[in-house]
């Protein structure tokens, strides 16, 4: 019997100091099955993943998500025609709403995906996290939705400084005083619009869980980790695996209650027995390869699950293992960049 070689496209191959999850996802797939062809979907010809042939076999430049689904869909169809394409794993927040909305259309085009439903995706909006947290029996920091600086001033009188000023989907800043808060309010509103959320600052350690829900209330595996070092943007840089049973039980409960389908990351603050929900990301996080290295290869399990294969769903891993990120250099010829710029795809 000839084994079918899977061709899987994935985005988020910006392996920079604000790393996208794509390289971790691709590396996880390659580690488990070298016959898989990884196709990078990039929005920038200078994304490092476009030049990392050891993990991304071929890459294509896509139009930005703000150009709408049709533009992306046309590119995916072209890639399918040209290289073959079995499945797509979108990994960037900005494109996820489109992929989620048009997942049925993707399926009609013969491209598989494994994404949350629209209703599940909506749950992660920060304005709904209080209800999600209540259902899970954990806390959510006191949060006020504001639409003006005057509203924010009133909210800050209640939550007091230091506080967190954040966008409904993106960006969060700790603010110490009103001028600082006004600056951040304006920056976020200009970039991402309204509402702006004013939130109390909670103490504790930031602990995260990565997992995949099977869409029927079960998980394909879970791993918890603590951030030890973060980038200036608060992204996971170094971390350590942990066996926080309460947190893992909450992740399982979340999947069960919501019948979550697809990858997710729970970001929580933990202060003793008090657990605060901070964010739910409806995708793999950039540290997903850490879970793979611990024996819980979530991208591969997800791909196998979609293919209808029997998979290992265990979440047995060692606590006390560290993930250390580092920077490295790879050298390419400028003609590689030129090929990407003019042809919209890598030579691979």
């Amino acid at each position: 019997m000839i084994k079918k070689e899977l061709k899987i496209a994935l985005s988020g191959i910006n392996d920079t100091d604000n790393p996208g999850p794509g390289i971790g996802v691709a590396r996880s797939l390659k580690d488990s099955d070298t016959s898989i062809t990884t196709i990078g979907l990039s929005y920038d010809i200078q994304d490092p993943g476009n030049y990392m042939g050891f993990v991304i076999d071929k890459s294509y430049i896509l139009p930005y998500p703000n150009k709408g689904w049709e533009a992306i869909s046309l590119h995916l169809k072209k890639i399918k025609e040209q290289s073959g394409l079995d499945m797509v794993i979108p990994n960037l927040d900005a494109e996820l709403p489109l992929y989620i909305r048009y997942q049925a259309e993707l399926a009609q085009d013969g491209i598989k995906s494994f994404l949350p439903t629209q209703a599940q995706f909506d749950l992660r909006a920060k304005e709904h996290l209080k209800a999600v947290s209540d259902n899970l029996g954990i806390s959510y920091p006191q949060t006020h939705k504001v639409f003006s600086i005057d509203d924010m001033r009133k909210a800050l009188k209640i939550v007091d400084f230091p506080a967190v000023v954040k966008g409904n989907y993106y960006k969060a800043y700790i603010v110490q005083n009103l001028p600082d808060a006004i600056l951040r309010f304006t920056q976020i509103a200009n970039e991402w619009g309204y509402p702006i959320l004013v939130q109390e600052l909670v103490n504790g350690e930031e602990l995260n869980v990565v997992g995949v829900g099977d869409g029927e209330g079960g998980t394909l595996g879970l791993v918890a980790a603590k951030k030890m070092t973060t980038t200036a943007l608060g992204k996971f840089w170094n971390g350590v695996s942990i066996g926080h049973e309460q947190l893992l039980a909450i992740a399982e409960k979340f999947v069960k209650q919501t019948s979550w389908k697809g990858p997710f990351e729970l970001e929580c603050m933990v202060d003793g027995d008090q657990i605060y929900m901070i964010e739910i990301n409806p995708r793999f996080p950039a540290w997903v390869y850490f879970a793979t290295a611990l024996g819980i290869n979530l991208p591969k399990r997800m791909v196998d699950f979609v293919q209808g294969k029997e998979i290992d769903r265990s979440s047995e891993y060692a606590a006390g293992k560290m993930m250390i990120r580092y920077t490295y250099e790879t050298i390419a010829d400028v003609s590689d960049l030129s090929h990407l710029a003019t042809q919209g795809e890598s030579r691979g």
Binding site: E205, L207, K226, M228, G239, V240, I242, G243, A319, G320
Partner: protein
Amino acid sequence: MSRVEMMAINDTGFAFDPMSGESFTLNETAVEIIKALKVGKSEREIAEALSELYDVEALDSLTDVLDFIKQLKSFRLVD
């Protein structure tokens, strides 16, 4: 099981709490106390053992043990 019972400690005094991911550096006496707590010894038994090991008064030793356990409690490592 308390967190101190799950704690991994090596001979150089590095301790790792697998639940929270926190790590601690312990001196020699602290290592002895934690190892004893992990096997369920009482505060008095630990103090007696330390008193013999370091040749100090039992009462001083007990005070030190209780102080240290108070610190562990502040880190929520013991109940």
